[in-house]
C-alpha cells in the first residue's frame, strides 16, 4: 500500500499547496468559491487580486483550514487539511488579518507574539529568542511589553506580522497588509516581505505594492479563478486590470478636474471686486487657530502651538507620518479634545468640549466608516444629522435625497448600511455628513480600503462638492487632485504650509519626516510604462532586405513597405497622462517571420 502512495507524494514534492475543484457556499447560500483549482509551489509569490467580494478572503481561509470546503479538497504538502495534519499545518502557515486588533489578543506584545511559538511547543528559551527576533525585525523591540491598545495603527500592524514571523512560517498569507499605512510604514512592510524567503500570498488592491513583491497573479472573479499567470502579464494588460477593478490609470488621466478648478479659483479671486461672490458674503476667516496645543492624558505633547487660518472655499491637505498629530488636530478642530489656545470658528470663539457650533457647519468623514454608520437604514443614516439639528421632516427628505444622489446612492434609502460594500459605505458616510450641507468638509483617509474603481468614483464625487475642504491623506494623488494648499505636519507642529504645487516640488521633504511620497508615483510610472507596450500599435514604415519570390525567380534586395505592429520600447512620461516616445527612425530593422513567403508584386 505504501508503494502506491509514495509516487504521488514524490510527484508533488515541490508542491506546497494543492486545491482541487474547491467549492464553498456561505451559510446563507451565496456561492463564495466555485471549482477552484490551484497549485502553490514552494517559493511562489502570488498576488491574489479581484473585486471586493470576489472570494479572496474566503479562499485564503480555506487555505488555512479555517473553513471546510463543501466540495473538493485542499491539500497542504500532499495531505488533506484536517485533523492532526491541519493542526500542524496551521503552525507553518501564517495568516495576517486586515484588522490587526483581531490578531493581537495578548495583553502585551510579548505575550501576543509568544502565542504562536508556544503553540509550536518551543521551550521558553527558544520562545524568548523567537519573540525578540521577530519584534526586532519589525522594529518594535523597544515596545516588548507594551499593551497592544496603546500602540498606533501602524505599530499594531507590524506587531501582528511579528506574531507570524516568530513562528517562521513556510507560507505567509497577508490580507491587505498596507491598507491605511503611511509611506514609511509601507516601506517597512515592503522591505520585510522582500527579505522573506518563504512562499507568499498577498491580497491587495494596491497594484504597485504587488508589483514590487509578486511574480504570479491569481485573479478571482465571482467565486472563480479567472486568470492565473505572471503578474507582469496582468499589469501589461489594461483591459484585464479594468475588468477586475485594479486599473489605477485614472490617476494619469490628465487632470481635467484640476484645470477646471484652477479656472474656478481664478474667477473666485476676481469675484470680491464685484462684491457679489460668495466670498463677499462671508469675509471672515472660517477657522482661526492661535497657538493651539494639546497634551494626551498621560502627558505626551500631541500638538504644540498650532497657528492656522483657513479661508472659506479653501481646499487644503494635511499630510505627515502616522502619529504626527493630524487626527488630534482634527479632533481639536471639532472641539472634542480639551485643547488649550484660542480657536475661532466663523469668528466665534469655540471652547474645548463645546463644539456644537462647529458640528452644525462641519461634516467629518471618518477613516473607518463603521465608526460613523449606526442606523438600520441608509435613509435614517443620512437623516440623522438634520434630525439632530431640528429640521422638519419635509426639508430633511429633500436634503437626504439630494445627499444620496450626490454620492450616487439614490434608491438606497431602505438598504441596511452594514450590508453594503466598502465603497458604498464610504459614500454613505459622506452622504450622512453632506445632508447638513456643511461649509467645511473634513475627510480622514478617504481612500483607505477602497479598490481603484471605488477611488475613481469617490474622486469624481469629491471634486463636485463645493465646500471648504480639509483632506488628511497619504494618497498623494488625491492630494494633488483635490487641494491647492498643503500643510505638512511633523511631531505635533505644522512644519510646512505652502501650495500643493510647491509641496510636489519639495525635494527636502524626506529629510523632514522620512516619508517618500514620490516613491509610489515612480512605481506607478514604471507600471504605466509597461502598459504602453501594448497601446502603441500604429503604422510604421519598414525597410527590409530579404528574399523575394516572383514565381520561379528568387532574388534579394532591400525594399520599403508599411505595416502595423506593436513596439516595445521604454518611454518617459513628461506629465501625468501625456507621454513622449524617444525619437525613432522611420525605418528600422525588425524580425518579420513569414514575410519572405508572401507574394510580392512590384516592378523591377
Amino acid at each position: 500500500m505504501h508503494q502506491l502512495i509514495k509516487p504521488v507524494e514524490l510527484e508533488h514534492e515541490d508542491l506546497l499547496m494543492q486545491v482541487e475543484s474547491l467549492s464553498y457556499r456561505y451559510p446563507d447560500g451565496t456561492q463564495a468559491l466555485a471549482g477552484i483549482d490551484l497549485q502553490v509551489r514552494a517559493g511562489d509569490r502570488i498576488a491574489l487580486v479581484g473585486h471586493n467580494g470576489s472570494g479572496k478572503t474566503t479562499l485564503v481561509k480555506q487555505l488555512c483550514g479555517l473553513l471546510q470546503p463543501d466540495e473538493g479538497r485542499v491539500r497542504y504538502k500532499g495531505e488533506q487539511l484536517s485533523g492532526e495534519h491541519l493542526a500542524s499545518a496551521r503552525l507553518e502557515i501564517g495568516l495576517l488579518f486586515q484588522d490587526p486588533d483581531d490578531q493581537l489578543f495578548g495583553n502585551s506584545l510579548y505575550e501576543d507574539v509568544a502565542f504562536g511559538p508556544r503553540n509550536q511547543g518551543l521551550s521558553e528559551v527558544d520562545v524568548d529568542l523567537a519573540v525578540r527576533q521577530a519584534l526586532r525585525s519589525v522594529g518594535l523591540e523597544d515596545l516588548l511589553f507594551k499593551p497592544p491598545h496603546a500602540l498606533s495603527y501602524g505599530q499594531k500592524k507590524r506587531a501582528a506580522l511579528a506574531g507570524l514571523l516568530a513562528m517562521r512560517p513556510s507560507l505567509l498569507i497577508l490580507d491587505e497588509p498596507t491598507a491605511n499605512l503611511d509611506p514609511a510604514q509601507e516601506r517597512i512592510f515592503l522591505d520585510l516581505l522582500k527579505n522573506y524567503s518563504g512562499t507568499l500570498i498577498l491580497i491587495s488592491h494596491d497594484l504597485i505594492f504587488l508589483y514590487e513583491l509578486c511574480e504570479r497573479a491569481l485573479v478571482l472573479d465571482r467565486a472563480r479563478v479567472h486568470h492565473d499567470y505572471a503578474l507582469k502579464e496582468l499589469v501589461e494588460h489594461r483591459p484585464s486590470l479594468r475588468e477586475h477593478g485594479l486599473d489605477f490609470s485614472f490617476r494619469f488621466a490628465e487632470s481635467r478636474r484640476r484645470e477646471e478648478r484652477v479656472e474656478v479659483e481664478r474667477r473666485k479671486v476676481r469675484d470680491p471686486s464685484d462684491g457679489t461672490g460668495p466670498a463677499a458674503e462671508n469675509p471672515s476667516t472660517l477657522v482661526d487657530l492661535r497657538s493651539l496645543s494639546y497634551r494626551y492624558p498621560d502627558g505626551t505633547e500631541a500638538l504644540r502651538g498650532i497657528d492656522l487660518a483657513i479661508q472659506p472655499g479653501e481646499r487644503l491637505a494635511l499630510v505627515g507620518e502616522n502619529g504626527a498629530g493630524k487626527s488630534t488636530l482634527l479632533m481639536c478642530l471639532l472641539g472634542i479634545l480639551p485643547f488649550s489656545g484660542e480657536y475661532l470658528f466663523t469668528g466665534k470663539k469655540i471652547m474645548p468640549g463645546k463644539g456644537r457650533l462647529v458640528w452644525q457647519q462641519t461634516g467629518m468623514v471618518f477613516q473607518d466608516c463603521a465608526d460613523q454608520l449606526v442606523c438600520p437604514s441608509c435613509y435614517d443614516e443620512v437623516a440623522f444629522a438634520p434630525r439632530q439639528f431640528g429640521l422638519d421632516e419635509a426639508q430633511i427628505r429633500i436634503q437626504v435625497e439630494m445627499a444620496l444622489k450626490m454620492v450616487k446612492l439614490d434608491g438606497f434609502d431602505d438598504r441596511v448600511p452594514l450590508h453594503l460594500s466598502g465603497g458604498e459605505r464610504k459614500r454613505l458616510a459622506l452622504a450622512s455628513v453632506l445632508s447638513l450641507q456643511p461649509q467645511l468638509l473634513i475627510l480622514d483617509e478617504p481612500t483607505a480600503g477602497l479598490d481603484p474603481q471605488g477611488e475613481e468614483l469617490l474622486l469624481d464625487i469629491l471634486s463636485e462638492i463645493d465646500a471648504t475642504l480639509i483632506l488628511v491623506s497619504h494618497d498623494i494623488f488625491f492630494v494633488r487632485e483635490l487641494t491647492e494648499r498643503t500643510l505638512v505636519m511633523h511631531a505635533g507642529q505644522i512644519a510646512l504650509d505652502y501650495s500643493t504645487t510647491d509641496f510636489f516640488n519639495d525635494k527636502n521633504l524626506t529629510s523632514l519626516n522620512g516619508l517618500d511620497y514620490t516613491y509610489r508615483d515612480q512605481c506607478a510610472l514604471q507600471i504605466r510604462a509597461l502598459q504602453h507596450r501594448h497601446e502603441h500599435a500604429h503604422r510604421h514604415k519598414h525597410l527590409h532586405e530579404h528574399d523575394h519570390r516572383h514565381g520561379e525567380l528568387v532574388h534579394q534586395h532591400p525594399h520599403e513597405h508599411e505595416h502595423e505592429h506593436c513596439h516595445t520600447y521604454v518611454h518617459r512620461h513628461a506629465e501625468a497622462g501625456a507621454h513622449q516616445h524617444p525619437a525613432q527612425s522611420e525605418y528600422h530593422e525588425h524580425e518579420h517571420p513569414g514575410h519572405e513567403q508572401d507574394d510580392h508584386d512590384h516592378s523591377h
Binding site: K61, Q103, N107, S108, P148, G163, A370
Partner: protein, 304 residues
C-alpha cells in the same frame, strides 16, 4: 449617652450635606493625586507591572499565590469588623501597606471614587432610617419629630465606609504589583478553572478595543449633532448605537477566533509561568494574616 437630643433645625443641613461632602472629598483627592504624577514616556522594553510601573517593593517581590490568598483572607476579615475603631485601624494599616507597595495614590483614590456614589447612599439613609433602639442617641430637629438623626445609624454608615475603603485600598497592592497574566496564572494555580482566567485575559484585552471603538462611534454621533435627552429619539439612537456595538463585536468575535485558530490555538492558552516559593513568601503571608487575626481579636474585645 442615649435618648433623644433636641437640636436646632439648622443642624439638619450640615448633616444632610455630609454625604455630599464626602463625595466631593473623594473627588478632591483625585484632583490632588493627579498633580502628583508627571511621567513621560515609559520604557516598554522591560516587563511591565500591570497598569503603571512603580519601583520594586516587598509586595512586588511576593509570590502571587501567597499574595492572593493572604489578601483575600484579609479582605474577608476586614468586612467582618464590627467597630469603627478597629475598622479605622485597619484603614490606617491599609494606607501604610499602600505606601509600602509604592503605587501612585491616584489609582487608589480612583477606586474610592468608584464606590463614592453607592456609599453616600448609606451615609444619607442609615442615620435617618435606622431603627431606634433604646440605647440610641437620636437628634431631633426642632419640631420635625418624625425625622430623627440616629447617631448609631451614622456609626454604622461610617463603619461600612471604613470597611469598603480599606478593602478598596488593598486592591491596588494586590493587583498592580504584578502583570495581570501572572496574577491570573496564580489564581489558576489556586484552583480557579484555567479556562476562566484565560477568558479574563481575552476580555481584558478586547475591553480596550471596544472602548476605543465605542468612543469613536460616540464622536461620530456627536459631531453629527447628537445630544442625549430624555426622549424617544435618544432612546432609539442609543439603541442603534448599542445594537451596532453588539453587531460589530459579534463580527469581531468570529475574526478573533479565526485568528487564534490560525496561530495554532487548540483550546488552551499556552502560558508557562513558573512560580518560585521563597521563605519570605511564607513570612509575609504569616505577617499579613497575623495582622488580620489581631484586628479580629481587638474587635471582639472592644466594648461599645
Amino acid at each position: 449617652m442615649s435618648g433623644t437630643l433636641q437640636v436646632s433645625i439648622l443642624w439638619l443641613l450640615p448633616l444632610l450635606l455630609l454625604p455630599l461632602a464626602v463625595y466631593s472629598g473623594f473627588r478632591m483627592l483625585i484632583g490632588i493625586a493627579r498633580k502628583e504624577q508627571g511621567e513621560g514616556e515609559r520604557d516598554w522594553s522591560v516587563p511591565q507591572l500591570e497598569f503603571e510601573g512603580g519601583e520594586s517593593s516587598p509586595v512586588h517581590r511576593w509570590d502571587v499565590r501567597f499574595k492572593l490568598a493572604s489578601f483575600l483572607i484579609l479582605a474577608f476579615v476586614i468586612v467582618s469588623l464590627q467597630h469603627p475603631q478597629t475598622a479605622l485601624a485597619a484603614l490606617m494599616l491599609a494606607l501604610l501597606g499602600y505606601r509600602l507597595a509604592a503605587i501612585p495614590w491616584r489609582r487608589g483614590f480612583k477606586r474610592l471614587l468608584g464606590m463614592a456614589g453607592f456609599l453616600s447612599m448609606f451615609l444619607l439613609m442609615l442615620p435617618l432610617t435606622a431603627v431606634r433602639h433604646s440605647g440610641d442617641l437620636v437628634l431631633v430637629f426642632g419640631s420635625i419629630d418624625w425625622l430623627g438623626f440616629n447617631l448609631r445609624g451614622l456609626d454604622l454608615a461610617i463603619l461600612i465606609i471604613l470597611r469598603a475603603a480599606t478593602v478598596a485600598l488593598l486592591m491596588e497592592p494586590l493587583l498592580a504589583t504584578a502583570p495581570l497574566p501572572v496574577t491570573l496564572a496564580g489564581l489558576a494555580r489556586m484552583g480557579v478553572p484555567r479556562r476562566l482566567t484565560e477568558l479574563l485575559l481575552i476580555s481584558h484585552r478586547y475591553l480596550y478595543v471596544f472602548l476605543h471603538e465605542a468612543r469613536r462611534m460616540q464622536i461620530g454621533m456627536e459631531v453629527r449633532g447628537f445630544r442625549k435627552s430624555t426622549s424617544l429619539a435618544t432612546l432609539r439612537s442609543v439603541g442603534n448605537y448599542v445594537g451596532m456595538l453588539f453587531v460589530r463585536s459579534f463580527e469581531r468575535t468570529e475574526r478573533v477566533h479565526a485568528a487564534m485558530l490560525a496561530r495554532g490555538y487548540q483550546g488552551y492558552w499556552p502560558q508557562p509561568i513558573s512560580f518560585n516559593v521563597m521563605p519570605a513568601d511564607y513570612l509575609k503571608a504569616a505577617a499579613l494574616i497575623g495582622l488580620g487575626l489581631l484586628l479580629v481579636i481587638c474587635d471582639q474585645f472592644m466594648v461599645g
